[in-house]
């Protein structure tokens, strides 16, 4: 045993992963510890701090650590803030529904109708390329699109679809929704197309041989099998839209205030405890949404 050991493993003992010693036995934990430490210090501690500070006492320009629920009461008894919460949720649902409705047919085409793998890749890359421009500039680029003399109105007028320019395109909730859908729809298309492309063709052939109609094939086979992709896409879109503020402030002329916008303005006026309350409310919303989506499918099993 010892001789074969020396024959096959002449390398120093340290190189042998099975060598005894605390470090060798806990090799994985040692390797993972820098990352874990980083995440605890700079992810969990800040989030914990946010929850903690939401119970601090807010004075005009400062906060002190006397615990109180005053900021919480102020949030839920104010029409402005509860209104912003409802507006955020409404906008999120609208954008989520639109990314699904607009994105799914594209994903269906890329994932099921394009036969060549390289054309599939080219189409997906074409969807991703816009992400190589700064996020803020992408948002700003909607302004000359949607304005009264914007590109959309010019095109529609020249096509004779409208006779008067549409006034409500820019600096309204509509413009915020259009901007967000364009920015986030790709996060829906990608995962769905990926799941659709993985469906075994023989499954569909079998269904067709047994006389299933195109609609039956879609609703009973293709759609259920693409559901994990929809859920992943919905999680991406939800997390990003709920935490949004820049699109709303750039395209609504600061008229549409989401919870994110209120956090920014509260921090600007040094209302830290209040900003923390809104932050916790937002975290809870996101947590509930993600948990609900994860209940729809068992992702660990599907992926």
């Amino acid at each position: 045993m010892t001789s074969s050991e020396t024959l096959t493993r002449p390398a120093p003992a340290a190189a042998d992963p099975r060598a005894e010693g605390w470090f060798a036995r806990n090799r994985s934990l040692v390797l993972a510890s820098p990352g874990v430490a980083w995440m605890v210090l700079f992810l969990l501690v800040p989030l914990g701090m946010m929850i903690y500070v939401s119970f601090w006492t807010q004075t005009t320009f400062a906060i002190n650590s006397t615990l109180t629920t005053k900021s919480w009461v102020a949030f839920f008894s104010s029409d402005t803030y509860v209104g912003a919460l409802l507006r955020t949720l409404r906008l999120w649902l609208t954008v989520l529904a639109l990314t699904f409705v607009i994105g799914y047919p594209t994903a269906l085409f890329i994932g099921r109708f394009v036969r060549s793998k390289s054309i599939q890749t080219i189409l997906l890359v074409a969807c991703v390329i816009p992400f190589w421009t700064s996020f803020l500039i992408r948002v700003l680029a909607w302004r000359p699109m949607l304005g009264r003399e914007g590109a959309v109105n010019i095109v529609l007028e020249n096509l004779g679809i409208i006779s008067q320019p549409i006034e409500t395109l820019l600096f309204t909730e509509t413009s915020v929704i259009i901007g967000m859908v364009q920015i986030y729809v790709v996060f829906m298309v990608g995962p769905v197309a990926f799941m659709l492309a993985r469906i075994d063709d023989s499954l569909i052939e079998a269904a067709r041989d047994l006389g299933a109609s195109a609609w039956t094939i879609f609703s009973r086979i293709i759609f259920p099998l693409s559901l994990p992709g929809v859920v992943v896409g919905a999680i991406f879109v939800s997390v990003m839209v709920l935490g949004e503020f820049a699109t709303a402030s750039a395209l609504s002329g600061r008229k549409v205030n989401l919870l994110g916008n209120i956090i920014v303005s509260q921090v600007g006026s040094l209302k830290w405890a209040f900003a923390a309350v809104i932050g916790v409310v937002l975290t809870v919303c996101i947590g509930v949404v993600v948990a609900a989506l994860l209940r729809l499918v068992n992702l660990r099993k599907e992926l």
């Binding site: 096959t8 390398a11 340290a14 042998d16 090799r27 994985s28 934990l29 040692v30 993972a32 990352g35 874990v36 980083w38 995440m39 700079f42 992810l43 969990l44 800040p46 989030l47 914990g48 701090m49 946010m50 500070v53 047919p105 594209t106 269906l108 085409f109 109708f113 816009p130 190589w132 421009t133 700064s134 996020f135 803020l136 500039i137 992408r138 700003l140 680029a141 909607w142 302004r143 000359p144 003399e149 590109a151 010019i154 364009q182 790709v186 293709i222 997390v239 990003m240 709920l242 935490g243 503020f245 820049a246 994110g260 956090i263 921090v267 900003a275 923390a276 932050g279 937002l282 975290t283």
Partner: protein, 285 residues
């Protein structure tokens, strides 16, 4: 479903329209960046085609009431920050992925902890970090409080990329090298690294681009010296001019340069691997 020509054609047209929807604002942005200056605004019609706003960006025009974008130093900060973030997140991601090559106690919790970093909205993390810094009396800065949050964001991406690479990587290759008496350092340099290099490259690409464009995580944590996205955000409040579009066009070109470098390095590494593989096959034959 390949035998539904009408449906296929409809969906093809739809996908075309979808791509127009994705690219429309860019085309408009590109066109308007050639607006006449300084009197031309960021809207149609184009008064006269000119490169005024590009020259304005580099301070090559006569001074007008429109101040040049305050981007020079911000750009330098953003590049430095993106570089540092790339290095740290790639190292952390590789180490953690290496740990995950074997099952260990606590791996489930650690996995979700790392993934949480890309899921938590940046604004909330920035708020929490600003609160921590304020109460510990730490000055907020782009190279300190903002930098650590950028890594929290990009490290999960690096981790997932490296995990995918290691999953396809046969550990027996390394073991073979060890058993032949090759030292761990040489094994890493000659065997492990070339095999995981494409993954490292992708992890770095993620790290750089995400950090370079990162904005909500920097907003409350960067302090008074702003990064590039913060400088752009600052122009939201005031009237916008076509110079921001000219800058958008240039920064998109810059992104494509990075993407092209990535593509070239990737292609080179694939080619090298192929040559090596064919060499081994010839040796065997």
């Amino acid at each position: 479903m390949g035998d539904l020509p009408i449906l296929k054609r409809t969906l093809a047209v739809y996908t075309g329209l979808f791509i127009v929807f994705l690219y429309g604002p860019f085309v408009v942005m590109g066109i308007l960046s050639f607006q006449a200056g300084p009197e031309g605004g960021p809207q149609f019609p184009i008064i006269e085609w000119s490169t005024y706003w590009y020259r304005h960006l580099f301070g090559l025009t006569e001074a007008t009431r429109i101040a040049p974008l305050p981007i020079r130093e911000a750009l330098l900060r953003s590049l430095t920050l993106a570089f540092a973030t790339t290095v740290v997140s790639t190292v952390l991601g590789t180490l953690t992925a290496q740990a995950f090559r074997r099952n260990f106690r606590g791996s489930g919790v650690i996995f979700y902890l790392v993934i949480l970093g890309m899921m938590v909205p940046g604004l909330l993390l920035g708020l929490g970090q600003a609160l921590v810094a304020q109460n510990l009396g730490i000055d907020r800065s782009w190279w300190g409080t903002a930098f650590v949050l950028h890594v929290v964001y990009t490290y999960p991406f690096a981790f997932l990329v490296m995990l995918a690479i290691f999953n396809r990587f046969d550990p027996r290759v390394e073991e073979a090298a060890w058993s032949l008496g090759v030292s761990p350092a040489v094994t890493f340099r000659k065997v492990t690294f070339p095999m995981v290099f494409p993954g490292v490259l992708s992890a770095m690409l993620f790290g750089f681009t995400l950090s370079y464009d990162e904005f909500p995580r920097s907003l409350f944590t960067a302090g008074s010296d702003v990064t590039l996205p913060l400088a752009i955000y600052g122009t939201f409040a005031v009237e916008i001019h076509p110079n921001i579009f000219a800058f958008g066009v240039l920064s998109t070109l810059f992104s494509f340069t990075i993407l092209a470098i990535y593509g070239l390095l990737m292609a080179a590494s694939v080619r090298r691997a192929r040559i090596k593989a064919s060499g081994i096959q010839e040796d065997e034959a």
